[in-house]
Symmetry: D3
Subunit: 167 residues, 6 copies
């Protein structure tokens, strides 16, 4: 039986933390679907959905078993619809754990056959998050160290052209 | 001396977690007042105050020592005004504890005679919260398992008729 | 129905933290039994069982609804045998919570009718514990500030006469 | 490539918590090796190594992809020696996470190719541990609810015959 | 070499907690710059920048080595621009730590020469925060116990004159 | 006024984590005393006091403001006796914080003039501890990466000659 896993998020933008978790999960699964949430929650993303998807695709261009997709439903419904049995999540610290425990247990209620599999964020990425990247961008700091090497040029170009009203 | 306790919250909506804590606290107190916060905080509740109150009343229809009320002041002022000496709170995890410690200590400053009494949330409810119920509702998932048995029909009926703009 | 609660521990020795929790719990219960564990665990107590019991009795000499006892069974068995429905515990920090959650859930398995009720340790006692008192004693520091006022003289006297081999 | 995972522990004794984690991990791996630590640490196990191994085998008698083994080296050396790339661990709470993070990072230093994969303990097992089972046994309480159904009879029989000096 | 430290925040308003941390840090540094963030984040402060700055100045009027300033850039840029090598932060609980660890590590990426130095909040202030003060103000409670003695009169006067629309 | 700080511990053995904290604290103090606890606690150290002291001295041979000493009293008494006003501690995670908070508050009771100053352990050392080094040694793993570069040769030589009975 083929093992497919879902790594879902807003990826606003994808970070070296996301990339590391997915690359370390690669040998564990036959296929990893990276699903980018569109219009989930009230916050308007800093980067549009096409840019976020392109960055995911560029990051894993060398990984034939990774695919990118967008979605606007509940994450667990994406699993159910696509017959996916595993969710991958990275954990950085105890607060992440408490948050993820709630989500994972709620997901179990809705789809008991879906298992959430956790990997630990590498310590050198323990401060990396999409919101940290956005903070850097808003304060005009160079955030390229926090995003995957494969997107750094494109990321810097896009950031330079963000209109002030978008920040 | 009669022992009255206050269980205060937004109850947007009441959950099986709330119900369990209150039922387990019943034998400990002569009377438990369940007070539903009205217009507290910036977030507009998903369910109106009358609905939220009705659900509390339906949930404890079989409990003569439980009463429902609404309030719009600080919780500790409700205690002072009604001569209530005990606050009941449920705790699910360490993050809840840190949050509740701050609130309880601030309350002690204002009314040293009021004691906050904590019960532990049952493990099977550790992922249940009003915000989880609202998430389910917003994504069109069936949340009836998360609300008290006594209100399930009414809850499902109300949810079905929520206008899209309310979600 | 009479409400009796159990506050169980090793009380090696009783501290101002224990005293504060019990005094704050007093109005909540008709009777509080303070039970001092004898020969529980591998560590030999620093103070003998008679001394520990005397100190509990001296601490609550002014409280007619508090009684002292010793026991050597599992705490939950003491509840069952004496028909006690409430356990009182103090919580100082998130680590205490994680520890107490395990104990409370295990107790629920053995006696579902027994409820554990938690009060928060007052912040000025957040560093007080019996083991801290013993550390002070071992290093020859004055620990009398950490034990109840009613036992300070007796405590200092006993400590002065502890033979070196007992430390 | 075949995916083999190691679930290592003292299993003194195996619990329903261990069983649940392993069963939920089954579809994720082609083979799970359950390795029972022998003579690791200073504490003498309550149950001998043969009994502990038999209980693991009985628990997974219906699982052709689970095998039992004993070991006395460092866990990571067992992985290296057997070419195992995955360690499975269950996490119950934030304290478990902090502990497991240290172990997993130390293991990464010694064998970067080995990934530790975490599953969350089911909430109904959040208080279950081998040490809790041993506490029950020492106090003469019935612990059979905490061990796998397949070993309950054998477990109860062995416990009944534990000589007092072993407790 | 002169040792200058930065204590940065929104100070909306300054609390006894802030004051205590800064006073305890005084002997450790030759100079402490208190920098009040202006227009940082989305939330509109309850008190205007001039009031917040005046309160900082009044609080440390007796401390020749403390100065007050306002800023609108990233905190780390303020350090770089002013050649400041130390950031001072107070920590109240484990959640504060997790939050501060992320900030401190991100700051290290941008300016490795800047060290964040942590002091523990005194236990009697463990529930004090600017947001707690604002809650008190919004509910019409007397918050003067939570702000420095030197500003209490001025604070009470300003609070009395807050227009309703500002709350 | 001269600023002297104490970094106290068992240093069984000193690790790269200890070294990093002390080096980062160097510019903050005029002098840092590294005090090695002798015969504190029940556990017999793996390395003798002379070896542990030599390793501290070798580690900071290039730091004229660092000195090494041994002590057998309570740490706070060492501060009082030597007129030291600052204790330095490294923090790796929330559990460390809870532990350190208790110690720091107890120390404040005995010597209010002594301030404990915390630095965050660098993330790449978050799994490093003396007990981890000892585990490596006991299992025959190469632990030299976890100890300061200046002692690696000496450490490896000593470890090689540890008699089995010492492990």
């Amino acid at each position: 039986m083929s093992r497919t896993a879902l790594f879902a998020g807003t990826f606003d933008p994808i970070t070296v933390g996301h990339e590391d978790i997915i690359r370390r999960a690669l040998p564990l699964f036959d296929h990893i679907a990276v699903a980018i949430g569109n219009n989930i929650g009230k916050r308007t993303p800093l980067f549009d959905i096409d840019t976020r998807r392109r960055w995911v695709e560029m990051t894993f261009a060398d990984c034939p078993t990774v695919s990118a997709d967008t979605y606007s439903c509940a994450t667990i419904d994406y699993c159910i619809e696509h017959g996916i049995r595993y969710l991958i999540r990275g954990i950085r610290n105890p607060n992440d754990l408490v948050y993820e425990q709630e989500i994972a247990l709620l997901n179990k209620r809705m789809a008991p056959e879906v298992e959430t599999v956790f990997l630990l964020t590498a310590p050198q990425h323990s401060d990396v998050s999409s919101s940290a990247v956005r903070e850097f961008v808003i304060f005009g700091k160079d955030a390229s160290e926090l995003v995957p090497a494969a997107i750094r040029n494109d990321f810097s170009h896009i950031v330079k052209n963000l209109k002030n009203k978008e920040l």
